[in-house]
Amino acid sequence: MSAIANSIFSPETAARFDKLVTLYPVKRSALIPMLLYAQDEVGYVSDAVVHEIAARLDLFDLDVRGVLSYYSMLRTKPAGKYNVQVCTNISCMLRGGYEILDHCKAKLGIGHKEVTADKLFSLEEVECIGACCWAPAMQVNYDFHENLTTVKVDEILADYAAGRGKDVK
């Protein structure tokens, strides 16, 4: 068991963190996985998350913030329950990635890195997500959706809005 008092995470996540630090030859190696799991649970990397993870890894808050600011998937503000990430990089661009992004903007009524008023969806234009051969593609949380058309996007968003979408975390 960790000597750090668990204040913000669920017992499952706290137990996962206790295990994570034992896996690596150096404790600090668990930092990026911990930030991701914390974000999955809290919704974003809050000041409290930074502070507790720093304590768990014997780091300064600043060490954690230095890493946090480097990686594009880590965020310091809440996203929507479903974070829609549309790829517009070259393979997706060639097969209509920008049309998909514009369609999402219009459908959700929000722009890049914005959140809908009901906090259900957020939208991001992202760089290559490694689905080039199934372009255009997007991710909702960590679930991939490929070979998109605007009709397919409507169906996917409707599924999430109705609670039928896969919520991969």
């Binding site: 996985p33 689905a131 991969v168």
Partner: protein, 440 residues
């Protein structure tokens, strides 16, 4: 879920278990799984390295360094523990081959990691996936847990006294730069993913200061197949000095995009027109980016070339990561060049000035040019900027941004010049707010 494709010209070695349910350990065992690693334990490290050398396998991440040789560089005796690090941080635009391996054959990556570990004398391996592949991490984590449950990982593996091997899996959190081997080590150590100065090379001073072998996921997943079929037999499948097959991701304007396994040296034109079904909608082909977005572009009349490291080099481009991106006649090269450089500017870690400033100025100049406010001097300036980035950075990201830019200017200068004639875009690819950093 990515759709699997196939074509009669494929030689299915690494992909032979795709679609067969081999993520399940029982199915993997049915399909010769974990036989190669047991053979490696019985035959010893020297045999493994010799087979890998005989196979002619060259790194599938992009650089194409001979794998057997890389493994042999690791010192036999080391005070510090040795490690195997699998680079699954697949982030090069146009590339999605490792995605399919992790999804359909995760045990091949695990078995390959164990083989590399036995070859160099490491007792621990790491499989590092890109952050966006969190759903694949679950697949790989389950496979690792199943291997532990069977006694294939941990202490005294396969019941052999003193033969220990552990594997830890994790993802990054979104950074193309982390695909560079030394940046990957920094990231795994819980730091910002910026490159280290070389030498020392990872084979001598790598992860946690110990000797480390870093290989691309496809390279590692090839190892069990090579040991089962024999290095010499594997080499026969490919072309001269380029052993075996490789997974090519063909995307963009083709009828049947997908990941295909073709022998090294397979003709690029044939790969596009026959394997991937030709240009989408019967339109004319304009250009091809042959090995991921960092590779210099080829024009439609330059495609009669073999897909291997040497032939692509002779053709003035690179095989890279095997991500073939096909552009039809409707594509504006100016727009494509801008989208390419936007990526590299976004992903530059900022560690060295030629890359940080170079990619930024390239993006600014190309944006202005694309939006219709360019002038003739810009074309030479873009070339000058790119030329001055080449070879001047710690890691190859600077080159990766400069090489395609130079290719676009060299091969399509006329199109850039024509673009100046009163061209104005209806819609900016990059807004002024984004450009000056006022957007998020």
């Amino acid at each position: 879920m990515p759709t699997l494709v196939s074509h009669p010209d494929e030689v299915k070695i690494i992909s032979r278990r795709f679609g067969a349910g081999a993520a399940d350990i029982e199915k993997y065992l049915e399909l010769d799984g974990y036989k190669a690693v047991q053979k490696a334990i019985e035959s010893g490290p020297e045999w493994v390295i010799n087979e890998m050398k005989a196979s002619g396998l060259r790194g599938r991440g992009g650089a194409g360094f001979p794998t057997g040789m890389k493994w042999s560089f690791v010192p036999k005796v080391s005070e510090k523990p040795k490690y195997v690090l699998v680079n699954g941080d697949e982030s090069e635009p146009g590339t999605c081959k490792d995605h399919v391996i992790f999804l359909h054959d995760p045990h091949a990556v695990i078995e390959g990691t164990m083989i590399a570990g036995l070859a160099i004398g490491a007792k621990m391996g790491f499989i590092y996936l890109r952050g966006e592949y969190r759903y694949l991490l679950k697949v790989v984590e389950k496979a690792v847990a199943d291997a532990y449950a069977k006694g294939f990982l941990g202490k005294n593996i396969f019941g052999k006294e003193g033969v220990d091997f552990d594997i830890v899996t994790q993802t990054g959190a979104g950074a193309y730069e982390v695909g560079e081997e030394s940046a990957l080590m920094e990231s795994l150590e819980g730091k910002r993913g910026v490159p280290r100065i070389k030498p020392p090379f990872p084979a001598v001073v790598g992860l946690y200061g110990g000797p480390t072998v870093i290989n691309n996921a496809e390279t590692i997943a090839s190892a069990p197949h090579i040991l089962l079929m024999g290095g010499a037999e594997y080499a026969k499948v490919g072309s001269e000095r380029n052993g075996g097959t490789r997974l090519f991701g063909i995307s963009g304007h083709v009828e049947r995009p997908g990941v295909y396994e073709l022998p090294m040296g397979y003709n690029l034109k044939k790969a596009i027109y026959e394997v991937a079904g030709g240009v989408k909608g019967g339109r004319k082909l304009k250009a091809v980016v042959p090995g991921g977005s960092s590779c210099p572009v080829l024009k439609a009349d330059e495609l009669d070339v073999g897909l291997d490291f040497d032939q692509m080099g002779k053709a003035g481009t690179m095989l890279g990561s095997g991500g073939i991106v096909v552009l039809d006649e409707t594509v504006s090269i100016v727009e494509f060049a801008l989208r390419t450089i936007k990526f590299y500017q976004h992903e530059s870690c900022g560690w060295c000035i030629p890359c940080r400033e170079g990619t930024d100025w390239l993006k600014k100049t190309l944006t202005r040019f694309y939006n219709g406010y360019g002038n003739k001097k810009d074309i030479n300036n873009i070339q000058y900027l790119a030329e001055n980035m080449m070879g001047r950075t710690f890691c190859p990201l600077g080159d990766a941004a400069a090489m395609p830019t130079l290719g676009f200017i060299k091969k399509f200068r006329e199109e850039f010049e024509e673009y100046l004639e009163g061209h104005r875009t209806e819609k900016a690819l990059i807004t002024t707010e984004e450009l000056i950093g006022a957007a998020h």
